[in-house]
């Protein structure tokens, strides 16, 4: 069990800058994110795309922005809990008990939800029948590639994950690669390699096909694919892998008893607190009249939410506003002279 002043849910730009503001005013925090890396949508969706509307930064990429934000909070030595997701939120004696999927538990007076549009999850097959094999023979990520040795594997998708795994697994498995159109979006060298392997009949390549059905008695036996014209083919398959990228799901946040407006959490604009005391929402996930889904708005929201957290983390102290240029206390916290 970890005691802290604030738990931040989400390590995107908004969560990171809120952590900075908490550090500046002398509070501690722990940051939890479902992804395996820091940066949220900036890193997962557009690491290379330039952003032009960060104040005083004419142009930067999602990755550069993230790296700078990480650099900015370094002095505070906050802990990140990546690859983990906040699952449960319960109230105990004016404190929030925060439980994660990996079994971590935090006790804190404040939770700041900076969860973007929710947590990233793999996009699954639309086929109902795929659900009963989900996690056993219908998979969306690979943890142990040895299970595919000498098996028939049908891989769906046209991006790098699909291509890389098709190439890799073709060494030891019978691989079929199925994609809905003829163009692939993976690296040109991988696309070339796939074409070579297909010409040598090492990989069975099916373009302009998508999944129709998966079948099997107990264990998976075959997968049926269909073309847009309705023609279908049956492929033998012990495993079916889908690589369709990630989607964002609100997930457990929807179950914490917070007011929701569509997929967003209404907040007041004084301190970005939700309908629950000590639970704040900032960034894309919060909504209020005039809300703009801009990174700069997330920064502002994080700064105010941090002050809101102070009240509950230090009930006996009065918050004093200070400038970083003038305050020796803040300079101490930042480790600068």
């Amino acid at each position: 069990m970890i005691k802290t002043d604030v738990v931040i849910v989400g390590a995107g730009p908004t969560g990171l800058f809120c952590a900075h503001q908490l550090g500046i005013i002398g509070l501690k925090c722990e940051i939890v994110d479902n992804l395996d890396k820091i940066g949220g949508q900036c890193i997962e969706l557009y690491p290379d795309k330039p952003i032009y509307d960060i104040p005083a930064v004419p142009e930067c990429t999602g990755e550069e922005l993230t790296n700078n934000l990480i650099e900015q909070i370094k002095p505070f030595k906050f802990s990140f809990h990546l690859n983990d997701r906040v699952q449960e939120l319960t109230n105990e004696n004016d404190n929030w008990v925060v439980k994660t999927t990996n079994g971590k538990e935090f006790h804190t007076p404040n939770v700041v939800i900076a969860g973007g549009v929710g947590s990233f999850e793999p996009r699954k097959f639309p086929t109902k029948s795929a659900e009963k094999f989900d996690g056993t023979s219908v998979l969306y990520s690979i943890k142990d590639k040895t299970i595919f040795k000498d098996k028939s594997v049908a891989i769906f998708g046209g991006g790098d994950s699909a291509l890389d795994w098709a190439i890799e697994l073709s060494n030891t498995s019978k691989v079929s690669l199925i994609h809905r159109r003829e163009e692939f979006r993976g690296a040109p060298s991988s696309v070339q390699k796939i074409k070579e392997l297909s010409e040598k009949n090492i990989i069975n390549l099916f373009t302009k096909y998508s999944i129709k059905d998966v079948k099997g008695n107990g264990s998976l036996e075959e997968v049926e694919i269909k073309s847009e014209e309705g023609e279908s083919k049956i492929l033998k398959a012990d495993y079916v892998l889908g690589f369709f990228g990630l989607i964002m799901q609100l997930g457990p946040i929807a179950e914490w008893g917070l007011n929701l407006d569509k997929k967003a959490i209404p907040v007041n604009t004084e301190n970005f607190e939700t309908n629950k005391k000590g639970i704040f929402a900032i960034g894309d996930i919060c909504t209020y009249p005039g809300k703009l889904k801009l990174i700069l708005s997330g920064f502002h929201e994080g700064a105010l939410a941090a002050r809101g957290c102070f009240k509950y983390a230090r009930p006996n102290e009065k918050y004093r506003f200070e400038f970083t240029t003038a305050s020796n206390t803040i300079k101490d916290r930042l480790g600068v002279k």
Binding site: L45, Y46, P126, E183, R185, I247, D284
Partner: protein, 106 residues
């Protein structure tokens, strides 16, 4: 200004007058038309504003730019009539456009 018809997967129709310069996605979101999520807000990063456009209109729309098809790979049940509605800019020429929403976006 263009009158755009949005048809939900269950057949329910919505008609919205959308200003020039907005996208077909924004036309839906601003008029509270269900069936288009637009999680990323229109930056072509999420494929949750996916719509189907029948051939008569599909061929009249400005062509897809680089990246849209890559994103559509990740949409729910894409086909050759699929577009991302955040990439269709509304103009007078689009008056009467009809788009069909998929069963779901995610």
């Amino acid at each position: 200004m263009a009158k755009i018809k949005y048809i939900e997967h269950n057949g329910k129709e919505h008609i919205a007058e959308v200003q020039n310069g907005l996208t077909v996605m924004e036309g839906a979101v601003q008029n509270d038309i269900p069936g288009i999520d637009a999680d990323c807000g229109g930056s072509m990063s999420c494929a949750t504003c996916h719509v189907y456009v029948k051939e008569d209109w599909y061929n009249k729309l400005p062509k897809k730019e680089m990246g849209e098809d890559d994103m559509l790979d990740q949409a729910y049940e894409p086909n050759s009539n699929s577009r991302l509605s955040c990439q269709i800019m509304v103009s007078d020429d689009l008056d009467g456009l009809t788009v069909h929403m998929p069963e779901k976006q995610v």
